[in-house]
Structures are given as structure tokens and as C-alpha cells.
């Protein structure tokens, strides 16, 4: 499967409180929560983002709490893929579990905000539109690949016949 989208670039250690602040976590639904995505950093991010956009982060993207609201609101505002130098463990797992692609790739320094990337999952390649730049990334562990293919953990459980 291929993904194509415009890049929002962030720094290192983008923590879960910045992605989604505590005070909105008890709002009833993800739809009501999503308007507060990245609120401490980018005002009205949910209005500025376009479906299919991607996020590029530095080291330790998603550090901090285990709140699945963080990847869930990103998915809800239309983000399809997060590429980072490294991810915090729980965030990574949460993202994959809900079918939001989280890719570890060393393209950070050469990709800029607004660039359009194409992600080719099968061949593990990221290309920057309008340039010759190409970056590879490691495949997912086999266990994770099954889940990514199913579209997330629940879909995987539903499809497993258990």
C-alpha cells in the first residue's frame, strides 16, 4: 500500500501532553477531542491539516503518557503516517494498534515542512516529490506486519476467528 502526503515537521521529544493535553482527555469522543490536537504548539492544527498529511518527528516522538488519545486524534484529523527518527514505545504500539503508520526513518534532516512524501510500504522506500531524495526504512517485525496488514489490533482479533 502507498501513502502520499504533505509533511508537518516537528522537533525532538514531541510528548503526548503536547500532542493532546490532559484536560481534554475526558471529552466523550475522539471527534470532540480532535479539535485540541497539538494545541500547545500549533493553534487550530485540526483546521490547517489536510487529509493524507504526514508528520515528521525527531527523536522520541510520542514520549510520556500511554494515552491512546494522542495517536487517535492525529488519525482523526487526517494524518495517515508518522515518520520519526525514533518513537517512544507506547506511542508506537498505540499507533500501529489503531492502524496509524509509524515509520522509523533517517530522513529528518533532508525533509522540510511542506514537502510531499510518497511512502511505499511494500518496498520500504520514502521518496520526496520533486527531488531525487529516497530513503529506506526497516520492515516491521513479523508480528506487527500482520497487524498492520489487518488495519490494526481489533481488526486483527476480529479476523482471527477467536
Amino acid at each position: 500500500m502507498d501513502y502520499k502526503g504533505r509533511v508537518w515537521k516537528f522537533g525532538d521529544n514531541i510528548d503526548t501532553d503536547v500532542i493532546f493535553p490532559s484536560q481534554y482527555m475526558l471529552l466523550p469522543t475522539i471527534e470532540e477531542m480532535k479539535v485540541h490536537t497539538f494545541e500547545p504548539l500549533v493553534a487550530n492544527f485540526h483546521e490547517k491539516v489536510r487529509p493524507g498529511d504526514m508528520i515528521l518527528g525527531g527523536e522520541n516522538f510520542g514520549g510520556g503518557s500511554s494515552r491512546e488519545q494522542a495517536p487517535s486524534v492525529l488519525k482523526a484529523v487526517g494524518i495517515t503516517c508518522i515518520i520519526a527518527k525514533s518513537f517512544a514505545r507506547i506511542f508506537y504500539r498505540n499507533a500501529i494498534n489503531i492502524g496509524l503508520l509509524a515509520i522509523v526513518c533517517n530522513c529528518y534532516d533532508e525533509v522540510h515542512e511542506g514537502d510531499v512524501l510518497s511512502v511505499d510500504l511494500a518496498w520500504q522506500i520514502i521518496e520526496v516529490e520533486g527531488s531525487e531524495l529516497r530513503f529506506g526504512f526497516k520492515s516491521f517485525p513479523p508480528h506487527v506486519t500482520q497487524m498492520v496488514a489487518a488495519g490494526g489490533l481489533i481488526e486483527y482479533i476480529n479476523g482471527s476467528g477467536r
Binding site: 501532553d17 493535553p21 482527555m25 489490533l153 477467536r162
Partner: protein
């Protein structure tokens, strides 16, 4: 093959003779904890997406309302109600307003050798009991309550060899902050952090919980310590049947990814400066900064031992006029113990706000938050931008000694000098 303590716990739970780092194992889960910050998200996943809506072991699921209690809005109240109905329908263990989830699990549930997950990153605290405990998201939680088991990648272990003894006025909060500052916010990403060495026996059980509590701030998957007599003694005193679990030890010659050595006598008071937990600095480097609020509480430092220290500092003194001091005991049990020892009265006399047991300022979603331009010294777990209220506030994390001293001084001070320790 020789295994680390984390590997041994996971191997036992997975029914395997041995496991190695990087291996994926499916293990039974002894306790599954979910709290009011995220349970509604899990309920929606469970009810809207899961085809076969069953719960394998409802008696192993613990639902705790600790983040937004007392409810501060209609939305929150309605979310609590939705969670309550779900927990009631499925027969979960329910705890509303009794304290912070991680403290309740220590007081009532977790035993050495068990595997515990919680939809909260500070679930790693229970490593102090010799359990494998880690935080998960809402979807993993749904998978686990549905299946009774979950997959884990066996983590490689970083071993922290502890020697010496902490001097008075320095706590395991200073130690773990120092470690996080040294190895950085993702220095232990995907890794187990094991604390061992001769110094461990000098640390109280409670101070070990504080140590293990913060490993996630270095990205750690779990913390782990061998359960010794102090842990077993605590369990004998506090659990109805005196159950003490399965006490496991790491093998001689087990493979560790990396060794670190800390001489506890060399640890000095430190604070984590805004806006990252690994932005650690000796407290003397930030001395003199004025403080608007001090918070003592949280799953990190809201236990009786912490309240006793605060009580000694506040006894006979008044909180500085500039400072709001908020104190939140970690649980009802802690509150009652503090009440009996006269600590709650001491706090009230000194001018503190005594909050009901809950996550409070550390979480910032419900009560006792800070405003624009304010500065907070907190014994809590995180100092991210906006974490404890305004995104324009500064949050410093420190020990209860540092917090108590700042509450009296109205500014950050070195507690050792200020308190004459």
C-alpha cells in the same frame, strides 16, 4: 541460559523455559488496570469495533477513577457514568475516589512475579514488587481484556548497580531524575531498567516505588527490582491472606545490554527543569527562582513516607505567602494514616490545601493547576508544556524535601542547606 529478572517473569508468564530479548511472547496477564482518563476510549473500541464482545477474566480487570475526581464538568461526569455502567456490567473491580490507580494496585492487588498492564504509562511503578508491569494504550487494553493475554517483545535490560547510601535530604526522586538526566528521555526506550546492588536494601519499599515509577520518563518499558524482605513484609502486613506471590531472582551471568553504576552517597538534590523530565539540573543551579505553587502528591511521591517528610518540614511553620501548597495523599489508606499521625492537621495549620486523593496537579485535568506565567515545583511525574495547567507555566520536578523547602521559602532552594540537614 541465564536470564535477567524481567526475562524470568515474562518466561514464567508465557509458560516457557527461557526467553531472549527481541523475542515476541504472548503472556497471560494477572492484572489489567484502566482508569478514567482513557476507559471511555476503550469502551468505544470494544463496543463499536470488536465483533465478539467478551471479557476473558473480568475479575482481573481493575477500573479506577482517579484522574478527574471529583468530576469538574458535565462531560467528565457523563464519561464517568458511562465507564461505571460498563465496569458494573462486566463485573470489574471498581475503585472510585479511593486514590491513584498505581497506589491502589500496590495496596490491594499486585504480587511479585506477576505480569501487569495498565492503560497508564506509570504502571511501571509495580516493578518495585518484582512484577513485570508496563503501560499500554486503549486498543491494547481492549485486546487484553478480550483475550486475557497480550504480546510483548522481551526487552533487553539495562542494569543499574546501586551502592552507597542516600544522605538525608536526598531521595530516590533525586536518584531517578539524575539517571533520567544522564541517559535522556529515550535512553531506555524499549528496555527494562533493573535496579540492584547493595544499596537496594537501604531503600524503603515506598522509595523503591518512587524510583520505578519514573522509568517511563527515560522511555523504559518496565522497571524491575527483586522483592526482598521489605517487600514481602509489606505484603504480609497489608494483604488479607498475606499472599506474597512468586519471588523471582535474576540469574548470575544473565546478559545485560548495559551496566550503570550509581553511588547513592554522591547523589545531590536535583530538579527537572521545564519542559522535559530529562532536563535535569542540580538544584543549586536554579536556586532563588520564585515559586507560585508547590505540589506534593501523585503516584510518584504521594505516599505516607513522603507526607511524613513534608510534615516534619511544615511542622510549626507557615507556607510562604506567595505560594499555594497543594497536598494530595496517594490513596484513602495513605490519607487515613496521615490523619492518624497528625500530618493532615499539620498541613492545614501551615496553610496548605489538602486535596482528596487523586492525580491532581500532576495531571492538570481537574484541579489545583497553574496559570500563565506561573512557576510550579512539583513532586509529580511530568513537567511537559501545559501538563499542569497553562502552557505558559514552568514546571520543575523535585523531591519532597525540595518541594517542602520551596513552600516555606517561596523560591527554589537547596533543601539540605535551607532545612539544615
Amino acid at each position: 541460559m541465564a536470564m535477567t529478572l524481567s526475562e524470568k517473569v515474562l518466561a514464567r508468564a508465557a509458560g516457557k523455559d527461557e526467553v531472549t530479548p527481541g523475542e515476541i511472547v504472548q503472556t497471560e496477564i494477572d492484572w489489567i488496570m484502566t482508569n478514567d482518563a482513557t476507559t471511555h476510549v476503550s469502551i468505544d473500541i470494544f463496543e463499536q469495533k470488536l465483533l465478539k464482545q467478551e471479557i476473558k477474566h473480568p475479575e482481573r480487570v481493575i477500573w479506577v477513577v482517579d484522574h478527574n475526581i471529583p468530576a469538574e464538568s458535565v462531560e467528565t461526569a457523563n464519561v464517568h457514568r458511562k465507564q461505571r455502567i460498563f465496569a458494573g456490567k462486566h463485573g470489574f473491580n471498581s475503585h472510585v475516589g479511593e486514590g491513584i490507580c498505581h497506589q491502589l494496585l500496590v495496596e490491594k492487588y499486585v504480587l511479585p512475579g506477576q505480569v501487569v498492564i495498565g492503560a497508564d504509562s506509570h504502571t511501571c511503578s509495580h516493578g518495585a514488587l518484582g512484577a513485570f508491569a508496563t503501560g499500554v494504550g486503549s486498543t491494547d487494553l481492549v485486546g487484553a481484556i478480550r483475550e486475557g493475554s497480550l504480546w510483548f517483545m522481551v526487552p533487553a535490560t539495562l542494569k543499574f548497580h546501586l551502592t552507597g547510601k542516600l544522605r538525608e535530604g536526598v531521595t530516590t526522586k533525586d536518584l531517578i531524575l539524575t539517571i533520567i538526566g544522564d541517559i535522556s528521555a529515550n535512553g531506555a526506550n524499549y528496555r527494562a531498567m533493573e535496579f540492584s546492588g547493595p544499596a537496594v536494601s537501604t531503600l524503603s519499599f515506598e522509595s523503591r516505588l518512587a524510583l520505578c515509577n519514573l522509568v517511563v520518563e527515560a522511555g523504559g518499558k518496565n522497571a524491575i527490582m527483586e522483592a526482598d524482605e521489605k517487600v514481602v513484609g509489606y505484603l504480609r502486613r497489608n494483604r488479607p491472606q498475606g499472599a506474597t506471590g512468586v519471588v523471582l531472582q535474576g540469574d548470575q551471568g544473565a546478559a545485560y545490554e548495559k551496566f550503570f553504576h550509581y553511588d547513592l552517597s554522591q547523589i545531590a538534590p536535583v530538579v527537572a527543569c521545564p519542559h522535559a523530565v530529562d532536563n535535569v539540573s542540580p538544584i543549586i543551579a536554579v536556586e532563588g527562582r520564585e515559586i507560585d505553587q508547590v505540589f506534593v502528591g501523585s503516584c510518584s511521591n504521594g505516599r505516607i513516607e513522603d507526607l511524613r517528610i513534608l510534615g516534619r518540614i511544615l511542622k510549626g511553620n507557615r507556607v510562604h505567602s506567595r505560594v499555594r501548597l497543594a497536598v494530595s495523599p496517594a490513596s484513602t489508606r495513605v490519607f487515613l494514616q496521615a490523619l492518624e499521625e497528625g500530618l493532615i492537621s499539620t498541613f492545614l495549620e501551615a496553610g496548605a490545601m489538602v486535596l482528596n486523593p487523586n492525580c491532581s496537579t500532576c495531571w492538570g485535568g481537574c484541579q489545583a493547576v497553574v496559570g500563565d506565567g506561573e512557576r510550579l515545583l512539583s513532586t509529580g511525574t511530568r513537567n511537559f508544556k501545559g501538563r499542569s495547567g497553562s502552557a505558559l507555566a514552568e514546571v520543575f520536578l523535585g523531591s519532597v524535601y525540595s518541594a517542602g523547602a520551596a513552600a516555606l521559602a517561596g523560591k527554589i532552594v537547596n533543601p539540605i542547606n535551607y532545612l539544615g540537614l
